[in-house]
């Protein structure tokens, strides 16, 4: 009598992807892990219930030469759903999110959602530069998407106008594309402008999600 064949162990549906190497999938939650060895990861994150980006935490900058840049997987506008077992909920303040992101540790584990197309709000903001007055905006220029607003100087034109916010990304200045421009080019462009300046900006607007 033939032996009833033993059921073969079902092949693993899909080898659990290794968080240390797996790529980030579009429109899915992806868990990734990056070795830090007590160095800063080098990402800047916008978000928090007390900011304009109040639906989630989003990467707005990846610092050149940083661990995150060398890892190559994270991108600007990736949404962080969980970081080191801190779930990014709607109730977290900006300070608490920063506290979760900026930790000194051996490795970082994150759940990332990359929306394709990116969930951003785009708008045009016109400011008028008056003689003797400055826009009062700090820009970071090595961002592939454009110039990241890092600071709004109190009392400056942008501060008084109130529409441009920290973590906004300026893609165009007076219709001129500014992504991949150097600090010198950007500062010459902006300092030389008199009168009206039109900024085209992108502001992260992630959907509410949970890990």
């Amino acid at each position: 009598r033939p032996l009833t064949p033993k059921p073969q162990p079902s092949p693993a549906k899909e080898a659990a992807s290794d968080p240390t190497t797996c790529e980030i999938a579009n429109n899915h939650n992806t868990v990734i892990e990056i070795k830090l060895e007590n160095n800063p990861i080098g990402i800047q994150v916008a978000g928090g219930c007390d900011t304009l980006v109040n639906t989630g935490a989003v990467i707005v900058n990846i610092l050149p030469g940083s661990i995150a840049e060398k890892d190559k997987r994270l991108q600007v506008f990736d949404q962080i759903l969980e970081i080191n077992s801190t779930k990014i909920t709607q109730e977290l303040t900006c300070e608490l999110i920063q506290r979760a992101v900026k930790q000194v540790q051996s490795k970082v584990k994150m759940t990332i959602y990359r929306a394709d197309p990116p969930e951003v709000e785009s708008m045009e903001i016109e400011l008028t530069k008056k003689p003797g007055k400055n826009l009062g905006i700090g820009f970071f220029t090595s961002n592939p998407r454009g110039m990241l607003v890092t600071d709004i100087v109190t009392g400056g034109i942008a501060d008084l106008d109130g529409r441009i916010q920290k973590s906004d990304i300026v893609t165009h200045v007076n219709s001129e594309k500014v992504s991949n421009m150097s600090v010198e080019e950007c500062s010459t462009l902006l300092k030389a402008i008199q009168g009206k300046v039109t900024f085209k900006i992108l502001r992260a607007k992630p959907k509410k999600r949970s890990s």
Partner: protein
Amino acid sequence: ASQVEKKEEKKEEPLVFEPITIDSLRQEKGFVKTARKQQKELDAIRKKQSKERMALQKTQNASIERLIKGKSKDEIKNDASIRKLIQEQNAQWSEMVERHKKEEWEMLKQQISDQQDILRKLMEAAQTAQMKQLESKHDREIKELNTKQAKISVETSKEVANDKTLKTKGEKDRRLREKKQNNIKRFMDEKKSATIKQGREKEKLKITHDKQLESLSHDLQKLIDVLKVEEEEYKIIQKFEFFA
């Protein structure tokens, strides 16, 4: 008299301690006062820095405007002296911003370290208070046990005295001795198990307190980490940042 009895019979509510965390301690008066003082200090330094920024912007603007007056956009782009001035201005500005950031980080570090001392003291005080509460609950329990046992002793004597089956004084004395002997054993067992239970409760609270102290240090370290990381990251940011 019956009311007193009722009171004695009523079981004591279980003692539940609120967890002591960095956030609960931050609500305490002793901390709020310091936090307010520190915020004022921080606001003052930021205001001072903001004034300096505005003043530098003004002078930088004036000299740029003088140079670019009447020149077209392309002329400005290719004018070596304008480019040199802009580079100088960028350097001057970034030097100032760096100094301001360092000032602020130093202040924040000092503030966290001051907070650390206060929070530790507040935590120790809160934990001591909880431990005292537990100890006085234990004292009450022992007192109640003593009262209960004394009552049983009296009742035993009465019982023997009123026992009609015991005819002679000798019989009564013997029975009383027996019963007293039994009581003593029972009382000692009761005391022993109460002491063991109380010891366990104290040990458990002590462990909870140790854990709380540990997470306080952990939470404070997180605050310090944020500053450290910001300082490290700024070294990179600085190279690519400008103000307009």
